[in-house]
């Protein structure tokens, strides 16, 4: 089982009560609320936290791309990745990912990711994403109906730009290039590719056909994800795809503390802040054409499984109206002592057949000290005891260099008190 350190880079200083009714934090974000100096402080904090994660056994340091939002202030994940690639030693640099439809010409991504692979000595994971509707169609103005085609053209161009030894011509619909011959070239040939999705059957076909790592990236946890993740695995099996658990990534907010009571005291406001900060105008959430007709139809067939979460649960979670332990019970967070977190993550990863956990260890306006404690407890008291999970499967989706270096500093250990926990 692999663990990747991740946080949305959420602006922590929104006024009390944010968002007010009608207020949003994407696209029409009130940017006067976001102080540039405080933003710089925040960036430096995340770099320190992730440098710390590199030392305690995390397999990857995950960065992502969003635009025009105070919820996740990383318009170029490659910039944050560069700060980490040159100042860390062990973990993979997990860019999850570059929104391919937004780069034109798209071999810019091939160049920047190659730079990161060189700088990190072969530790790059190349994540390719479609981008949220807010990112790809509103902030960057692509007609929704073109996002997929732009993505795939860019993906093919990038993979060819890494592979072809000689200059080549690329006559795409959106990228017209007479001479493609990028410098630098990546160390890995090629870096592993991850493609997260949100339930599009076309994305399932892509990751199955190309043997990419799929990612179900939500912040709603096990109960919400279960029907879709199960549907993915069923589809994968039917299509004869690779059932290796390491080809599946999943995000989970984790709140680890010495005691359960301390967890509630230390994390509750930050969890509420996190959910309240992700304030999307519903009219911007599903532009026509972002999902294909085939995927719309699949919602009623392939993906028809029912989540245990009700629409009211989702609304209350987004408004910060759940208690700390209700967030935990419903799966939005995994909270408590290291022993409790271990047990719940083992259940989650086994239930969903997840080999790559993208652990969200900072959320909302959490302090650096608590996030550092979260990181340390995970590294010392959680991760080592879950290394046995899926150990019989080879991991083709994290770089060889990071696998070797992390194994040297974070070997697995047997669970100290399995009997005691199962008696709970």
């Amino acid at each position: 089982m692999k663990f990747h350190w991740f946080a949305e880079v959420t602006y922590p200083g929104m006024p009390k009560g944010f968002p007010a009714p009608g207020q949003v934090n994407w696209i029409k974000t009130d940017t006067t609320l976001i102080d540039p100096r405080a933003t710089g402080e925040l960036y430096r904090m995340f770099i320190r936290l992730m440098q710390g994660a590199d030392k305690v056994g995390f397999d990857g340091l995950a960065v992502n791309e969003h635009h025009q939002t105070g919820f996740a202030m990383t318009p170029s994940p490659n910039l944050l990745a560069a700060s980490l690639a040159g100042t860390t030693e062990n973990a993979a640099i997990l860019v999850i990912g570059d929104s391919l439809a937004l780069y034109n010409p798209a071999h810019r991504v091939a160049e920047e990711l190659a730079y990161l692979d060189c700088l990190s000595d072969g530790r790059l994971i190349a994540g390719f994403v479609f981008g949220t509707p807010m990112d790809s169609t509103f902030a960057y103005g692509n007609p929704p109906v073109e996002v997929r085609e732009r993505f795939h053209e860019a993906r093919k161009l990038i993979l060819r730009a890494w592979a072809e030894p000689e200059p080549f011509a690329f006559n795409g619909r959106f990228n017209k290039l007479r001479y493609v011959n990028i410098v630098p070239r990546p160390i890995q040939t090629p870096p592993p590719v991850w493609v997260p999705g949100s339930g599009s059957v076309e994305t399932w076909d892509l990751v199955i056909d190309e043997a990419y790592c799929y990612g179900h990236l939500s912040f709603s946890g096990l109960q919400s994800a279960k029907p879709l993740v199960d549907a993915f695995w069923n589809y994968c099996e039917q299509r004869g795809g690779d059932m290796n658990p390491h080809r599946m990534a999943f995000t989970q907010i984790i709140c680890c503390a010495e005691t359960d009571a301390e967890a509630e005291a230390q994390y509750y406001e930050a969890v509420r802040c996190f959910h309240r900060s992700n304030a999307v105008d519903p009219n911007f959430a599903a532009p026509p054409g972002y999902s294909t007709e085939r995927s719309m139809r699949a919602q009623g067939t392939l993906m028809a499984g029912r989540s245990k979460l009700t629409p009211e649960d989702r609304l209350r979670a987004s408004r910060g109206e759940m208690s700390f332990w209700e967030y935990d019970e419903k799966g939005y967070i995994v909270a408590g002592t290291p022993a409790r977190v271990r047990q719940r993550l083992r259940e989650l990863a086994t239930d969903l057949r997840i080999g790559q956990l993208i652990a969200c260890l900072h959320m909302g306006d959490l302090s650096e000290a608590v996030a550092a404690q979260n990181t340390r407890l995970m590294g010392e008291q959680v991760i080592p005891y879950l290394r046995d999970l899926w150990a019989e499967y080879p991991d083709h989706w994290t770089p060889q260099v990071s696998q070797q270096r992390v194994a040297a500093i974070s070997p697995g250990r047997p669970e100290p008190a399995r009997a005691a926990e199962s008696a709970e």
């Binding site: 532009p287 026509p288 054409g289 719309m296 139809r297």
Partner: protein, 262 residues
């Protein structure tokens, strides 16, 4: 060809695409190009036009049952699609009435095929843009705001007809609407300007631009800009109408159009 009361949309082949079309009436040929939301199906105003014209009202590529949106990259591809359709019709030059997105298509078609357009009517046409007066974004308006933008009197909303008639089938209706709008994003997203302003001067057909005075989607200045770009074009505002004057003020609309096409 004339007078059938049942829905008379039929499939046919135009070049490489399958096209569903409402064809009715006799008289001089009239091509009607529908707006960005949907083909209006059995619309009373189409039947009125068919009293004096041989009307062909095709569904745009990617809308409803018409195919081909995947092969359309550029607005020129659309103009050539309609050129091919009118040539195959074999009636010589035709009158063209285009509404909203269909107005944009009609203007582009008339610009590249002046020999095939006798007279041109553009109703609340999309196709131009002013940064200092950004038009409403039709893809993000919630239903109540959309109704307010579309209608002078939102009570008219239920009078709007559609090519999709099985109103009980909510799932298929949602797919129909989404498919239509996603095809429309090809030309209207994020800004409904694909360079028409540079090509308006190539329109040689006598042109009438119509706009409902309460249209909340296409601003007055936009409609006037289109008219100003076409030599000799006339502009008419229809009072007590919104974005669909042919629905809300059918008689005034028919009077204006028939008078102009005479």
């Amino acid at each position: 060809m004339t007078g059938a009361a049942e829905t008379t949309m039929r499939m046919s082949r135009v070049g490489a695409f399958d096209v569903r079309s409402w064809d009715r009436g006799s008289g001089p040929p009239l091509l009607y190009l529908h707006g960005f939301e949907q083909h209006p199906g059995e619309a009373p105003y189409l039947a009125r036009l068919a009293e004096r014209h041989s009307v062909k009202a095709p569904e745009h590529p990617g809308f409803g049952a018409s195919t081909g949106i995947e092969d359309i990259q550029h607005i020129l591809d659309v103009a050539l699609h309609y050129r091919e359709m009118v040539e195959a019709w074999g009636q010589g030059p035709v009158d063209v009435v285009g509404h909203a997105l269909g107005g944009m298509f009609a203007a582009e078609f008339a610009a590249v095929s002046p020999h095939l357009v006798r007279r041109l009517v553009l109703v609340s046409p999309y196709g131009v843009w002013r940064d200092d007066e950004p038009a409403a974004d039709p893809f993000v308006l919630p239903p109540a705001a959309m109704d307010a933008a579309k209608w002078h009197d939102a009570a008219w909303a239920k009078r709007e007809t559609s090519a999709f008639t099985d109103v009980e089938d909510k799932a298929e209706l949602a797919i129909f609407r989404t498919k239509n709008l996603s095809a429309a994003t090809k030309f209207l997203w994020p800004i409904p300007d694909r360079g028409l302003n540079r090509r308006l001067r190539h329109i040689k057909a006598p042109t009438l631009v119509i706009r409902g005075e309460s249209d909340g989607l296409v601003p007055l200045s936009y409609a006037r800009d289109v008219a100003a770009g076409i030599a000799g074009a006339r502009f008419e505002a229809i009072p007590a109408a919104g974005h669909l004057p042919m629905v809300e003020t059918e008689q005034a609309f028919i009077d204006l159009v028939e008078d102009f096409l005479r």
